[in-house]
Symmetry: C2
Amino acid sequence: MNKIITIGRECGSGGRSIAQKLAGALSIPFYDRKLIEMAANETGLSEEFVQQAEEKTGSLLYNLYFSSRNLPLSDQVFIAQSKVIRQLADQGPCVIVGRCSDYVLRGRQDCVHIFIHAPAALREARVIRDYGVIESAAAAFVQKQDRRRAAYYNHFADGRWGDSRNYDLSLNSRLGENAVLRILLGAVKEEVPQ
Amino acid sequence: MNKIITIGRECGSGGRSIAQKLAGALSIPFYDRKLIEMAANETGLSEEFVQQAEEKTGSLLYNLYFSSRNLPLSDQVFIAQSKVIRQLADQGPCVIVGRCSDYVLRGRQDCVHIFIHAPAALREARVIRDYGVIESAAAAFVQKQDRRRAAYYNHFADGRWGDSRNYDLSLNSRLGENAVLRILLGAVKEEVPQ
């Protein structure tokens, strides 16, 4: 297995946990929030700053306020993160979660792009169980997270977040974490014809 | 394996051929255009009539002209086809291609819903090779077919055609037909937790 694996996921789908276990099973590095820190170091922006930019992507005022350089801060952060993603991919096989990494690495032949989703009821149950979200707030929590991810993706990438055509393989995690892992392990070991 | 498998696919993705081979490998029936004939028998509409309705879904005048019953003809055909799909599913494991079958059978626990797509270049090459479409017309041919499929799906189903969240497993057939078949065979054999 000599591939870069990118994984996008719905909130509460268990995609992050699946990504981590996939990386473990393949003995390759796993990158997630670290990317933000690396990107921040790259641009000289503090981590806090980068997180703020992320949470406010799309806020015109915020972008205007911070657009003392040529581009809005959110774009600067995206560009810096994209650079980091490409550097990580150049270092060899790994699993990268989120950050439009499928889009950033599109066109490279050594990648497999994956999206993990799940029915709303399962996702809500997961955020209640794993993130301590109270039951009455679970539906809104999941929807808000996904709106943010969709907005981020749809702003920077082309194609719509969650559209199967952006990915090589999309999976409903209702199949169960172990089943999803078995399917993914089978899939990433397939050679892609050139 | 005790499942109903539905397969949606982009034009030229090879999804139909994959569906046929999957049914063969699992020794279960494969249903495609036959559905239209069965639906036509069911409603007493001629096959020609049903095909016309399909090609003209969304044509207001056509629907008004033929809405001598309570519903537009295209809706009558859809309802009849949905009934056939449910009857086929009730008969036992099978592979059903297209006709919004994922949507029609949504909620049944014994189904696996699959979508097959591929990059434009591969799809165009396939329709040139397999359907005898001339090279200069291939892009338009593929786009027109897919617009029709999307319009049909988006009209009758909820969710957007090709959105990963409508399916359990979406696959890019650039992985190659044999690889896709191996992945699907592995996936459909997984037990879905209740």
